[in-house]
Amino acid sequence: MSVIAAKTQKLSLVQAVTDGLRTVMKDQEEVLVLGEDVGKNGGVFRATEGLQQEFGEDRVIDTPLSEAGIVGTAIGLAINGFLPVVEMQFLGFIYPAFEQIMSHATRIRMRTMSRFHVPMVIRAPYGAGVKAPEIHSDSVEAIFTHMPGIKVVCPSNPYDAKGLLIASIEDPDPVLFLEPMRSYRAFKDEVPTERYTVEIGKANRLKEGTDVTVIAWGAMIPLAMKAAENAQKQNIHCEVIDLRTLYPLDRETISTSVQKTGRAVIIHEAHATSGLGADILSLIQDTSFLYLKAPIQRVTGFDVPVPFYTLEKHYLPDENRIIEAIKRAVNF
């Protein structure tokens, strides 16, 4: 957190998103917010609350209920001079827009040799742990990190949420901006009132340690931090890394840390198979093979659809599973 701000305010993560949008919209007429219920209602999570009153119906646009329609139209706006910030109500609702993202948003730049490009942000609350109905809790970031042409960003705290969102809007290419809904109102941070950015592609070392590197993002960060604190009581010193950007990964921060500790535990709530953990594992293998003292551990959701909420506590990684993995790495 390098910015020394003259003025800050205490905001929750979702409020920081709103503040980020407001900050940019004040400066740049081209920024438009589009989505279902984003106007009068301020979004189902109130992430766009008050913006329509402030900036008008032309800039905070309540759209028809149509995810492909929203993303496809936003592509048209983006190629023609605007900076659309699209809200998907839940990441699990993005599937109808999948074709527009995969077939168009990600490859218009390449197909036209940069004549056209798509400076668009798709915001999507994601993840389980809030007792939402089915499909609302999916965590399918790996589908998008797999597709070249879109960046994937995931803040874990209010400060990063504002800074990363502004950086995403400034980015000339499409960005999928994942908002951990479990962390939306879980805590507050001091957030600068001014415009600032957190660089895309840079991870954040949240805690220094010597024994094992714990890598996580989004809603898994508070759990990882808690597990690391508990491990400390047992004399295991964890280094905790918040990835913040899922594509492109921060190779330097990950490898520097693993080369120091010789061990890694990767945590994500998404399914294990072909999950992002596998890629981080491969990155560590590429950069740090000879430093490793133990097999890299993964703590993930299971290879099952995110379940109805009475079972979600069993599906989601929890502090105990994380501590167990840390011990497995240390005691190998």
């Binding site: 496809g72 139209t73 936003a74 074709e99 077939s103 040799m113 000339p172």
Partner: protein, 355 residues
């Protein structure tokens, strides 16, 4: 479906059915239409033959649909937008793409998607109906900027079965976007005939659900296509929102050079359509009826078209080899480290191999 009767300005025998347009039909304009139709038909035939010779990849022919494409694209102004599919090269050529560019596209070159500087021609949509939304968004952007530019978007009959078709019409209707949805109903989605595509009598009637004007025109009648598209574009410019145009036409040949239409329809019937509906024959008959036909002139333009096409082929075939940098340079504004690393490793590999 009284309200969606087929609009025709010119019958099969070349008789003008709409006298109101007579004053707009200067000799130069009529000749221009004929010349453009001749050029794109010759181009299309040549492209198929190039594909057969292995000088082009798979190609999507449009023969039969020339009037629909040329007539509609001619109705645009230079600052408008054009969103084509993979079958709309005649529209793209009419609006400013070079023949060379179209050939490069089918020759597997990225350069084939890049329009001339300042020309707002989007790369051809390969997925079906997705481009209707891009056109709607681009048109909404023009409206927000306060210009009077409009967008036209092309799609086939099969596209009307896709969700994006309905989402595009709905968005454009709700936001009054200055966009013209130009459907070329060529009556087959690869092998599936229109009767199996939809149970509605017309495509134009689908406009009713969105409370936008819908018209059904004879897509092989270039006068009807040109003047009706022009009206729709002008309507869009005036801020009155989108129009759905169904241009009823026919593709004589295959969906692409990779399929054989005789497998799914009687191609003799397809050939009979030439006599009764062909867009070029019809215009020729009109010109003969009007006493403005000139055989020598025709020979001249046919020969001119041939030369233009030969020159484009030469340009395509003498185009510099693809640059490997382009594989990596245009994924993001600034390549990510993953892409840079992969690029550098690949170059190292190539250097090693070439040693």
């Amino acid at each position: 479906m009284e309200q969606f009767q087929m609009i025709r300005y010119l019958d099969e025998n070349g008789n003008l059915l709409n006298s109101e347009i007579s004053k707009a039909l200067s000799l130069d304009f009529i000749k221009e239409l004929y010349e453009r139709l001749t050029l794109v038909r010759a181009f299309d035939r040549k492209a198929i033959s190039l594909q057969r010779q292995g000088r082009l990849g798979t190609y999507a022919p449009f023969e039969g649909q020339e009037a629909a494409q040329v007539g509609s694209a001619l109705a645009l102004q230079p600052n408008d937008w054009l969103f084509p599919t993979y079958r709309d090269h005649a529209a793209s050529i009419t609006f400013g793409h070079s023949l060379k560019t179209i050939l490069l596209y089918w020759n597997g070159r990225l350069e084939g998607c890049v329009p001339p500087e300042g020309k707002k021609i989007f790369p051809p949509a390969v997925p079906i109906a997705t481009q209707l939304l891009h056109a709607t968004g681009a048109a909404m952007a023009e409206k927000r900027k306060g210009t009077n530019n409009a967008a036209i978007v092309y799609f086939g009959d099969g596209a009307t079965s896709e969700g994006d078709f309905h989402e595009g019409l709905n968005f454009a209707s709700v936001f009054k976007a200055p966009v013209v949805f130009f459907n070329q109903n060529n009556q087959f989605a690869i092998s599936v005939p229109i009767e199996k595509q939809m149970n509605s009598e017309t495509i134009a009637q689908k406009s009713v659900a969105y409370s936008i004007p819908g018209i059904r025109i004879d897509g092989n009648d270039i006068f009807a296509v040109y003047f009706e598209t022009k009206k729709a574009i002008e309507r869009a410019r005036r801020g009155e929102g989108p129009t759905l145009i169904e241009a009823v036409t026919w593709r004589y040949g295959a969906h692409t050079t990779a399929d054989d239409p005789s497998k799914y329809r009687d191609q003799n019937n397809s050939e009979k359509r030439r006599e009764n509906g062909d867009p070029i024959i019809r215009l020729e008959r009109y010109m003969k009826n009007e006493g403005i036909w000139d055989e020598e002139w025709k020979e001249e333009i046919v020969s001119k078209a041939g030369k233009t096409i030969e020159k484009a082929i030469e340009e395509m075939e003498s185009f510099p080899e693809p640059n490997i940098d382009d594989l990596f340079a245009h994924v993001f504004a600034e390549p990510t480290w993953t892409i840079k690393d992969q690029r550098d490793q690949y170059y190292e590999f190539l250097r090693g191999v070439n040693q």
